[in-house]
Subunit: 505 residues, 2 copies
Amino acid sequence: MPPTPRYISSHFEPHTTQASSSKTSSSGYGSSNDVKKAISELSSSLEHGQVDTDPDNLRTFGSSENSYHPASPHAVIVRPKSTDDVVKVVNISRKYRVPITAYSGATSLEGHFSGFPTGSICLDMSGMDQILHINEADSDLICQSGTRWEDVNQTLAQKGIPLFFPLDPGPGATIGGMIGTGCSGTNAVRYGTAKAEWFLNVTAVLPNGEVIKTRRRARKSSAGFDTTKLFIGAEGTLGIITEVTLRLAPLLPTKVAMAQFPDVHHAVSAVQEILNSPYGAHIQCVELLDDNMMSAINAAGLVDKPFPTEDTLFFKIQGDDAGVRLTSDVVKQIVRRHGGSKFAFAATDRAAEEMWENRKYALMSSLAAHPGSRCWTTDVCVPVSRLPQLVYETKEDLKQAALRSTIVGHVGDGNFHALILFDNDDELDAVSAAVHRLVHRAIALDGTCTGEHGVGVGKKEYLVDELGEGTVELMRSIKKAIDPLNLFNPGKLYPDDSSKDSKSH
Amino acid sequence: MPPTPRYISSHFEPHTTQASSSKTSSSGYGSSNDVKKAISELSSSLEHGQVDTDPDNLRTFGSSENSYHPASPHAVIVRPKSTDDVVKVVNISRKYRVPITAYSGATSLEGHFSGFPTGSICLDMSGMDQILHINEADSDLICQSGTRWEDVNQTLAQKGIPLFFPLDPGPGATIGGMIGTGCSGTNAVRYGTAKAEWFLNVTAVLPNGEVIKTRRRARKSSAGFDTTKLFIGAEGTLGIITEVTLRLAPLLPTKVAMAQFPDVHHAVSAVQEILNSPYGAHIQCVELLDDNMMSAINAAGLVDKPFPTEDTLFFKIQGDDAGVRLTSDVVKQIVRRHGGSKFAFAATDRAAEEMWENRKYALMSSLAAHPGSRCWTTDVCVPVSRLPQLVYETKEDLKQAALRSTIVGHVGDGNFHALILFDNDDELDAVSAAVHRLVHRAIALDGTCTGEHGVGVGKKEYLVDELGEGTVELMRSIKKAIDPLNLFNPGKLYPDDSSKDSKSH
């Protein structure tokens, strides 16, 4: 049975009906009148310019142009300047029972920051973007949560501090959003993800208005379970992050190289052998771009000379000169042994940057190669040995469905993104159905519905399938314990509680 | 004001009084009659030999010979063979309101597995020690939670699989205990701790008897917040872990080396420079042993030739031959620049093993060097730059208190252990007070009361100081949501709730 297209939402319907009511709804959320009172109190509690009800902005901040999930405009946008401001907003949200959704880089793809139909407060954290302190001797840095990861690294570079923050999700993402999404990126094969140990602590405002700091600045602690980790991947449903201590890594010289393969299976075998060799720690990134993606890069016209349109691995090799040279020799040999060809370094730093940008801006290349098309980006992750099967079956499936797509993958982690193009709403139906099949294929291979993009509204229907009702119920219990009024980003992450639904019938 | 000696416990007093009552106590725990009924039902539900009420065993399993915290014997020891057995025990525990404490390697140092005075079920997981599946292609392994980490690595070696599990806490620790404690060890400087990404998923029995698996086998997932992490460092208070998927790392050739330093400050500066160099990734371990520890190793008489009795760094350098050689050259130069001397490799594999064992068995050497003495081992962790100050002040403090001690530190992480010797109960008072001062010193330096040993009963009084009331209350809220009857390892980890106490007066 084909799935209900997910961009035609049924998630919010009960609330949508209640939104027009002027009384407090049975869901416990404030009425439209309460929302008005909340906005008025926000305006009197904060400074001029911090509270925004411009209808265009409310729409823009409530939806993403790169996702096709249900979206509603917010009722108001608030721009805090401090943790204290956030506490004020949270307390007003609670007083009037108006949901609150954190927003910052707006790069997420699964509807994480869409508005809530009864009226919601959009908390735009992007102005809280100050780097507060750099502890070079301890390789850590304290910043506000609206800071972009690129700005962290640029600031360190400008100050001549040879350290960097290794999580590298989409361009424009901010630290708070990266925590909420449980992000990773191309460096994860070497440095792990947001769920590793790069966030030493967070300062968070809880739904009860309390400000907590989850840990001190030591690199390790066994003082109880890891409350920092609660907020990583929680998509703003458990707390609003305002400040963060980041652990930094030494910035090492890198070289960029690429090689072509007869197929994905050969490319993946080569990657596994390389990573398990004594040279594996020199591999900072290894990215798979399929033949279609290479073709899109060429068609986008952003390269001096077209690349071969074959399944390709991009490598970033790091370390001292001798280490990079030795690693390259070994990679070259392993690549050849697995049928790869044309292993070649970018000749200059400029060429390396260009080569890497083609990977990093895959979405833009895919769109540039198909003017007028739109693109649905999705990600799944499976045990690495199952990646080839997943890629083959997905490519075959997309071909059967007559859909154009490109594939880019963090191949060392078994994580891949399909960028599926479409021109009209009929095709959008087909794309949605294909994504649905892709997710079920990944779960059947002992994988996950999302390796790094998060759940938002787009993936929540898959969580019970993937994790089982018990694990999802555990998440819900924690959510209820921390946010009993369900005010923090409701309608995201947690699947609808079917047992509760059936009770209410 | 000197602290109340912590080994004279007041933690359990209210319950101790109730233990003699034959009615259900006001704490909600079962009466002694309920405990009897629970034991009877355990005996009829499980096989002969799985239920043990031998008084000597009940005492032995309820206390640790290397910790001096409050301890009570258990009421019964149960030895499950499967997750189903654990579910049975948990359901009986809930039916009769008898607390349940998980036990396995018994290597923890803060009273994690001591019995509960009203009578508790000790769940001895050490028999659930099977390695169930090795996925070499994906570098992961599925095992039961009673498996020792050393057995994981030995099994891989015996099968000729060039992978290993990098967390290396005390000898004899098991996977379940390592999760409960949030352990790390000497490899953490290269591979991170239990709170990184080495546990891909856990299967846990929750207090409600439900069996959940926290995640599938993909290396990465952003499908919600990280429920695996909830159990890491929770000390068996949120669930009983029965099965685990471990991520493995490539096993690399290593060399062991050591160097002496004029003082700790110079040693720490050298470590920071080495780790931030392009060769840092080749440093698998870097351990600090103070002059007293070196002297104890010599006195223990386990070495062929005595070591110099100066503050010493032990290195484990890993990688390909050329990488190890280049790294060694760089380490040697940096060591010299920071006043270090005699940088020397162990000449043979046998010598390397001996050198490293002196580090790994520090506790035993400390005791062997002082026949008849006992030893209180404690650990704290601070930002690395503050480690020298912490070590100096602690050594001075111990000297003032006329206490003999040795210090070993995971210096790359800012984590150190003080092993404080004593001969009688008067000295024990002084040791307890010195540990108290050490913990406050670490917290004042933005550190933690425990880097890797965990909280148990020994460190729980420090959590509010370290983390603030809000963060501790967040932990308590989660505990209450998952274990509303407080049956899983009560009296451990969470500080007594002062607000509740005052309410009950």
